[in-house]
């Protein structure tokens, strides 16, 4: 929305609203969800149609897990840069300013990346330990 007249305390250009999206903070958990669904679906199909190839399945889940962790790591890194806490020292971002909103979304995305990475690791563990469809 560029229509309104810029006030003297207008937000800095790099924090413009149209660059932000609520969707972005859900990308890391969405990666977890995709990883989870693929693990579940692949295990269900393999165990129903070809129980002997569970070894391949476990390797595949391992590769998928590395991929998911890599993606989440990258998202987390970008969010970390956006949060910018080392420069600002601001952990709370409590003000109604564009800069605080920008860093808050980064902070939330960092935290969600951490929880998503943990979730991915948790879900991968059964494939590490369980060797048969049983």
């Amino acid at each position: 929305m560029a229509e309104h007249q810029p006030a003297p305390d207008e937000e800095r250009r790099e924090f413009r609203e149209e660059r932000e999206s609520l969707w972005r903070i859900t990308l890391a958990p969405a990666t977890w969800a995709v990883h989870f669904v693929i693990c579940y679906a692949a295990a269900a199909v393999v165990c129903a149609k070809a129980p002997d190839s569970i070894g391949t399945l476990r390797l595949g889940i391992g590769a998928l897990t590395l991929l998911a962790l890599g993606l989440i790591g990258w998202l987390g890194w970008r969010a970390w840069v956006q949060w910018d806490v080392r420069t600002t020292g601001d952990y709370r971002n409590p003000l109604g300013e564009a800069e605080d909103r920008h860093q808050f979304l980064g902070h939330a995305a960092v935290l969600l990346s951490v929880i998503s990475a943990l979730g991915v690791l948790y879900v991968a563990l059964p494939a590490l330990f369980i060797r048969s469809c049983g």
Binding site: M1, E3, H4, Q5, A7, D9, E17, E20, S21, L22, I25, T26, P29, A30, W32, A33, F36, C39, Y40, A43, A44, V45, C47, A48, K49, I54, L57, Y91, R92, N93, P94, L95, G96, E97, A98, D100, R101, F104, L105, H107, A108, L111, L112, I115, S116, L118, G119, Y122, V123, L125, P126, A127, F129, I130, S132, C133, G134
Partner: protein, 852 residues
Amino acid sequence: MSDRRDMAPEGPYPPTDAMLAEKVPQNVQKRQAEELRAAWAPPKGWRYPTAVNNSEVGLWYALTAFGFMLLAGVLALAMRLQLAVPGNDVLSADRFNQFFTMHGSAMMFLFAVPMFEAIAILILPAFLGGRDMPFPRLSAFGFWCFVIGGTFVMGSLLFNVAPTAGWFMYPPLATQDEGPGSDIWLLGLSFIEIASIAAAVELIVGALKCRPPGMRVNIMPLYAWYVLVVGGMILFAFPPLIAGDFLFELERSFDWPFFDPTRGGDPMLWQHLFWIFGHPEVYIVFLPSIAIAAMVVPTVAQRPIVGYSWIVLSAVGTGFLSFGLWVHHMFTTGLPNISLGFFSAASEAVVIPTGIQLLAFAATLIAGRVRMSLPMLWIAGALAIFTAGGLTGVMIGIAPFDWQVHDTYFIVAHLHYVLFGGMVLPVIGGVYYFYPFIRKKMLSDRLGRWAFWLIFTGVNVTFLPMHLTGLLGMPRRVFTYSDGMGWGWLNLISTVGAFVIAAGFAVFVWDLLRPKGSQPRIARNPWDAGTLEWSHDVPEEYWGARSIPHITSRYPLWDDKGLVERMDAGRYYLPDSPHGHRETLVTSVIDATPELAQRVTGPTWITLWAAAFTGGAFIFPTFHMYPPAIICAAFAIVCIVYWLWTATARPPAHEMRDAGLGLRLPTYASGPKAVGWWAVWITMLGDATAFASVVFGFFFYWTAKADFPPEGAQHAAAGWVALATLALVLSWALTLGAREWNRAGRVAAARAALVAAPVLAAGGAGALILSVLDLTPSAHVYPALMWALMVWVSAHALVGIIMQLYCLAGSFAGKLTPRYDADLWNVTLFWHFLCLTALVAGAVIGLAPRVL
């Protein structure tokens, strides 16, 4: 959307201190207040049921849900009486089955979820300093649907025909159940689920688009974050159940064997669809209740919440992870161990975000100057009980432990701890906290403490022994047991505890309903809270906020001492109603910059009629009375079309409106700036999820059954399927074309497209029907599923045709013009989804069986 003809806001924003400091003359204040009072007054006398104000609808909703909760509680007491001693005969086995089924169903569908919606409708606009929800009539429609559906389902108890198969309706028990019980459950509750989705749409749009200017996403009240998350969860959790209900009812009514293993079906599909809904459901009722705690705790601690971002993390994270847990209800169904492992792992992972929010609350209390109050007592009790339930949850999240206690009273104990601690107690705490806001009176501190200690003690006395009862082997849902089992004394304790809970509820109900006329006028902000709802007017006014403030911090009432005074003076936005309209402010999603003065709908009978006919369309099929059902459905459509035509997206008399503080705002928007577009988008996301669930059914059968599709089975006619898909895609293209031509001023071309598009859509639906006509759906699950997909797409095509014709009529009537084209935008959005649905359905019906 940056079309040139879209009117843009004009004037200064954000307001400067000097602008805010300027006084509003007394006579102006008086005139503005009178205008608002006239515009927002709810109807009086016999017209009172036509009210749509969120303060009225929310209150009715909450009281009705609470009434159903008390009824369901009475059922529980009757069951506890029956189980108090071995070999008891207070209830017959059949009545006991009806009671436990209705206890669970009513608590979940008629209390827990509606209560979230009721409370959110009641207080969310106040948190956002707003006037009302964006779609007041939709709330009212949802409420009346809920009343009709709930009364119908609960009423079945009086005729001794209530469902008996348990609240999760497992086939084959439920599919083969004699009598209308299962149908009552399926149709009555589907009806309510649709109302729930309507409320979710309303709440999401409310939290995204109706925040006060300046309330960026990083300073939203945490409650709004929870509402967003829970609304999103409803959109993805309820549709699988609706899809399951759809298949289930087709089996019950027409003998299409989706869950019948003798004809290729599989009861496990129901379990999957039910629990994909059922587990997130637990978090759908838990998160909004914990959201109340997130509002109470900072007030009690008299400081901002510690770890705002961490609580957002925990709400969003829990929302996601809760969808990876459903199979932990199915650990004993013989799935491969590795699959169980995934769900067990996710079940343990969800503990992390859940724990984080509890720790954030504890940190806030430790860091603040705690002023213990009655609401906090309830919250504290809730956290204690919830934590106990969470610990047993960690235990049964581990598959081998679950195998031991599955279907025993250990599970009953666990789930009641979780629900009392995670839902009932925080909600009652919330009632004590928000009562001064809702009714402008205080509840009794003394009675509240009595109620708390009775309920808290009762919960522990009832449910703590049940862990042991379960470990000793008592199964759920047995109507009696023999003396020799040794469970008698434990059950007697539980029964005594249940009546202690009931006594606590009696005290609470009395406190809630006793006359309070003689009470002195309450303080406006009795708890010294920092959030906007405590800028409410005492005595009550119906305008929501006298003027909609500009917000710059998370706790505006603490941080800006002059704010309430300026709101009262009408210094902020939309302080008047020059044309007598009800209006609310629409702002942008991320930073809440003002975009639009949205006119909202007022009192009407049409929502009641629409709900009554929709009710008929769902209730008559329960008794296999199809002609009246179809007539009701037709009338429901007529009512809804009338309601939309007369009250939504009408070309405004005035393009722009002075919104206050020098800002002029447009009064009409189409496309992504319009709240209606967002509502369609969100609704269709839910609809797409339901369709995906039916498609999931196809792949589920293919995975689980060796004979799907059966050897040499007759497939749908490929030519007709291709033709159907093509026709529907062309209809979509023409709809999109109509939107573009209309916008470019080529009205004749747009109208021609809107004539051709419904013809093509009808042809497409017809071709799809022809493609499966030779298949016998009752013979095997494969043809049944082909038919189900056909029914799904055809029904949507019918809706799509009505929408196209609605736009065509609008174009001729002058409601839809090149400038005012919101309807066409919304219809095109529906058709985007329908086009996708048609392509997927075409591939699944025509291609997949031949390829797999």
